[in-house]
């Protein structure tokens, strides 16, 4: 609805421009020149993906506009489909998963390449693919301009990918900078574009590539999950805000693209809440906002730095932490998360004393890699019984309130509908603790045990699982033919 409206507005604007060219500079976009600029680095990305939810798996084919960003063939595209599902996957065994199975990249002059999926950035939803070339072919990548000054009312343009029954495949579209958002982050907003155009390269009136089309997320509804420690349930507005992911942001991503399964973000190891104005007043604290430390994970950076439950973080590296609403918590989480592991961070902390009053402290923490999310945990697939298991991760222990020192097992992460494991009673999310009375600590154990079992081809395999806070035995009858 909103998109239609913005398109309609854009249409009217375009109409006005056509009718009254003397009032506008938009007409001055020279698309012949622009096409010449983009034709070397613009590609069409065809992806076959496998979408699985629980025991259901579907195949689908998607088509995206891609842009080559390095001379060795790194391509960016709209990775929303691959990443937008994280919110659902943070905890339970029910993970919605999208796995690219086949990627084909076609240049505008018709050359075809195979592509390798690299990963998706959790904040911008920009997806990364690497073109597979023989003998190290070099490409002419886009060079984003680091523009800081975005003027409200100035025009921007991009190319949009048309459906595959239309030729030529690209069409131009224009929009306008509508405002420059300062919070929750610096973000020039645009009108005139729609969500289907996400990650398309935006050009300013000088035909400089200034960034790509991105979406400004309401931080309170953002779907990233730093090890499952996020808690926010405030209702958010559904308005889609499109704007410019700027050149300097892109540069960081291009140098160090996100890789699936590789943990590249940091954590502090606390649960937290916002220091609201009311709360600050109640505790007689003269600061505009901050982070209340609710729990400190054992041996985490926070624990090692000496942070305590109830501490209030009000400065990070000397910078005021201006968080006075729950909705703003993701700003702090992102700040920590985006720093490199092993970074030293200085926290200014207020510690309330039992007898009243506060102590002011400065604590130095060395950040660590965030614990692995369930989604990224390594999996083992057993084809005989048709199930997949993954290792237990930090958030499992936290969510189920289990002791990682004494509780071991692997989580059933996927079951083929109608497969033996499914029919005989294993469930998604079951935590397998023993197989035929042999303890299971990780997927390597399962692989080893299942391999040995297969040699003797027994009629039944007994799984001892933890389900819904209780244990039970499950007899899976086998069919080795």
């Amino acid at each position: 609805m909103k998109n239609k409206l913005t398109r309609y507005v854009a249409f009217i604007i375009v109409l006005l421009i056509i009718l009254a060219p003397q009032y506008s500079t938009a007409q001055s976009f020279d698309y012949d020149r622009l096409y010449n600029i983009i034709k070397d680095y613009t590609v069409i990305v065809d992806v076959k993906i496998e979408v699985s939810f629980g025991v259901h798996t579907n195949e689908q084919a998607d088509r995206y506009l891609g842009t080559i960003v390095t001379d060795d063939g790194l391509v960016i595209f709209n990775g929303l489909t691959f990443n937008g599902v994280r919110a659902l996957s943070s905890f339970s065994g029910f993970t919605l998963k999208t796995t690219p199975t086949e990627i084909e990249i076609t240049t505008l002059d018709g050359k075809k390449y195979d592509g390798e999926y690299i990963g998706v950035d959790r904040y911008t939803q920009i997806g990364f693919i690497k073109i597979k070339t023989e003998n190290n072919e070099k490409f002419k990548p886009v060079k984003f301009q680091n523009v800081k000054d975005f003027k409200v009312g100035s025009w921007v343009t991009l190319y949009t990918l048309l459906p595959d029954f239309v030729n030529p495949p690209l069409a131009a579209d224009i929009g306008m900078i509508s405002t420059v958002a300062k919070t929750p982050e610096f973000f020039p907003l645009t009108v005139g574009f729609n969500s289907l155009q996400l990650t398309s390269v935006l050009f300013n009136e000088a035909l400089e590539p200034v960034g790509v089309l991105g979406e400004l997320n309401n931080p309170s509804s953002s779907s990233f999950d730093t090890g499952g420690l996020m808690e926010s349930s405030n209702p958010s507005s559904n308005m889609t805000l499109l704007g410019i992911v700027t050149g300097d942001q892109l540069e960081k991503l291009i140098i160090n693209p996100p890789q699936k399964g590789k943990i590249d973000h940091s954590w502090l190891g606390i649960t937290l809440q916002a220091l609201t104005k009311d709360m600050a007043q109640f505790w007689h604290l003269d600061i505009p906002g901050g982070i209340i430390v609710n729990d400190v994970m054992k041996n985490s950076p926070a624990d090692n730095a000496g942070l305590e439950v109830g501490d209030i973080i009000y400065k990070v590296n000397g910078q005021q932490v201006d968080i006075d609403k729950e909705e703003k918590i993701p700003i702090f989480q992102r700040l920590i998360s985006e720093m490199e592991p092993e970074t030293s961070v200085e926290f200014s902390v207020l510690r309330r004393k039992q007898e009243g009053g506060v102590d002011s402290l400065t604590l130095l923490a060395t950040l660590q890699k965030a614990p692995m999310a369930a989604m990224d945990a390594p999996e083992y697939e057993n084809k005989d019984l048709e199930f997949k298991v993954r290792n237990l991760v930090f958030s499992d222990y936290l969510y189920y309130n289990l002791d990682s020192a004494t509780f071991h097992g692997v989580v059933v992460s996927s079951l083929t509908q109608g497969g033996l494991a499914d029919i005989e009673g294993l469930s998604m999310g079951d935590i397998i603790q023993k197989i035929n009375n042999q303890p299971v600590k990780n997927i390597a154990d399962v692989k080893e045990i299942m391999k040995k079992i297969k040699e003797s081809m027994p009629k039944e395999i007994i799984f001892f699982v933890w389900r819904n806070k209780k244990t039970l035995f499950i007899n899976v009858k086998t069919d080795w033919n």
Partner: protein, 457 residues
């Protein structure tokens, strides 16, 4: 084909029309006349705390008089949380009743009619023997389906040993069904039939109708009367049923006999042990097979045999010692377990009217269900939308452990704090809560000038 079918039905009718149907018809009349006079239409007003405030709801159920002093048996989910109860007897006279006692685990409650102003004379229904009922036997369900009082429906017993496992919950949150099987019938049972009698053709009550199935036709369930007899006798004698608890969960052995090397029809498999339970302290563990309880052989090859085993344990006097002969790794061992009293499933409810939420005391069962470290504090049952508590960020299932700077010792400690602060009309209270194991702070900003002070005298 259709013609043939119709012909067949006519044929069938004409065969049975001679004698049996007439006699069944007569039996139904007789049974009706014996039980209908004791049938009770029950209108309790129950207390519901789930929305964050105390809400009173009028509900409808059924019951049957089983004692000459005016005792009526019904379901716990009908009368268990009742504040006041009105009953309409078969002669349409309305009499008040009071709650005597109930047992959520078998969903049975007993209420007593106040007959001081009743002009008539009550009739008492007789209980039969549910062990001797047969699948296919005719039965009559009586009660108030959808509040339509004095209704009867007829069917047969579809199954007499239906098992539902221990995870069934009553609307008020209590577990039920661990200690009984169910009689399944195709006599129509609808909401409102709850607590009404299931009657055989001799006019004896063989079950108490308790559950129906949504989106299905004629699949209803009654609690066997032998369970009801046992439970009502205890309620009349002691007010409530006390059971022993050792913290075992068991599983049918049928599929696992080979794996554990057990004989057919021998032993009960322990599948899970509650943390901190007597069974855990006695070093029993999942995978042990109990062969004997106090020298008496036990077995549960099928799930339908589990309620009997659970009852055998539960029927011990709390605090008594049970001797279990156990098979572990094909060796026999003897364990002695001292039982504890099985506590209430759900704790006492309390409404924090001025703060906009409801809480309940944390029982051992709730501690296990919600994986809490202990039973300290107050469990949030509901938060009233847009209330002080809602604005402060309190949520259902939060556990309040601290009010301002005071650690709560127990539930009444919380109520004392609530009373103290609401009486003193403080405008800010800081609650420290636990949510999914994590600590949080909830600041309540209380507007003491709000209307509710006027409403409350």
């Amino acid at each position: 084909m259709l013609k043939f079918l119709i012909g067949f039905i006519f044929l069938a009718e004409s065969i049975f029309a001679v004698t049996p149907v007439e006699s069944i018809q007569q039996d139904i009349y007789n049974a009706r006349d014996r039980v209908m006079p004791a049938l009770v239409h029950i209108q309790p007003v129950i207390k519901d705390y789930n929305t964050g405030e105390l809400e009173k709801q009028a509900v409808i159920g059924s019951g049957v008089i089983f004692h000459k002093d005016g005792y009526v048996v019904t379901n716990y989910h009908v009368a268990g949380k009742a504040e006041r109860i009105l009953c309409t007897l078969s002669d349409k006279e309305i009499v008040p009743a009071k709650f005597i006692g109930g047992d959520p685990l078998t969903d049975i409650a007993v209420i007593k009619l106040d007959l001081s102003k009743y002009p008539g004379k009550i009739k008492v229904a007789t209980f039969g023997n549910s062990d001797s009922v047969q699948v296919g036997q005719y039965v009559i369900a009586m009660g108030s389906p959808l509040a339509l009082s004095r209704s009867i429906s007829v069917g047969v017993i579809s199954t007499k040993d239906r098992y539902f496992g221990s995870d069934v919950r009553l609307p008020s949150g209590e577990h039920t069904g661990r200690y009984n099987l169910w009689i399944q019938t195709d006599a129509a049972i609808n909401p409102g039939n709850s607590g009404g009698p299931l009657v055989d053709l001799q006019g004896q009550v063989i079950g108490i109708n308790s559950r129906a199935t949504l989106y299905a036709n004629n699949i209803g369930f009654a609690i066997p009367i032998n369970i009801v007899k046992k439970v009502t006798a205890i309620i009349l004698a002691k007010g409530k049923v006390t059971r022993s608890w050792i913290g075992l969960h068991c599983q049918a052995l049928q599929e696992l006999e080979n794996y554990f090397g057990t004989n057919r029809n021998s032993g009960v498999l322990i599948s899970s042990i509650d943390p901190g339970s007597p069974a855990e302290k006695s070093f029993l563990r999942a995978g042990d097979i109990i062969l004997e309880v106090d020298g008496q052989p036990v077995s549960a090859r099928f799930v339908e045999e589990l309620p009997k085993f659970y009852s055998l344990i539960a029927d011990h006097e709390p605090g008594s010692e049970i001797t279990l002969k156990v098979l572990r790794n094909e060796q026999e061992y003897t364990f002695k377990v001292t039982t504890k009293q099985l506590g209430d499933s759900q704790g006492e409810d309390f409404e924090c009217k001025k703060w906009g939420f409801t809480v309940k005391a944390i029982t051992k069962q709730m501690q296990i269900d919600n994986q809490l470290p202990d039973t300290v504090g107050a469990f949030v049952v509901g938060v009233k939308p847009l209330s002080t508590a809602d604005n402060g960020g309190l949520r259902r299932a939060d556990v309040i452990v601290k009010v301002n700077n005071d650690d709560l010792k127990n539930f009444s400690d919380f109520i004392d704090h609530y009373d103290k602060y609401s009486l003193a009309k403080v405008d800010k209270v800081l609650l420290t809560i636990k949510r999914s194991g994590a600590t949080r702070y909830v600041l309540l900003k209380i507007d003491n000038n709000k209307g509710d002070t006027l409403n409350e005298k």
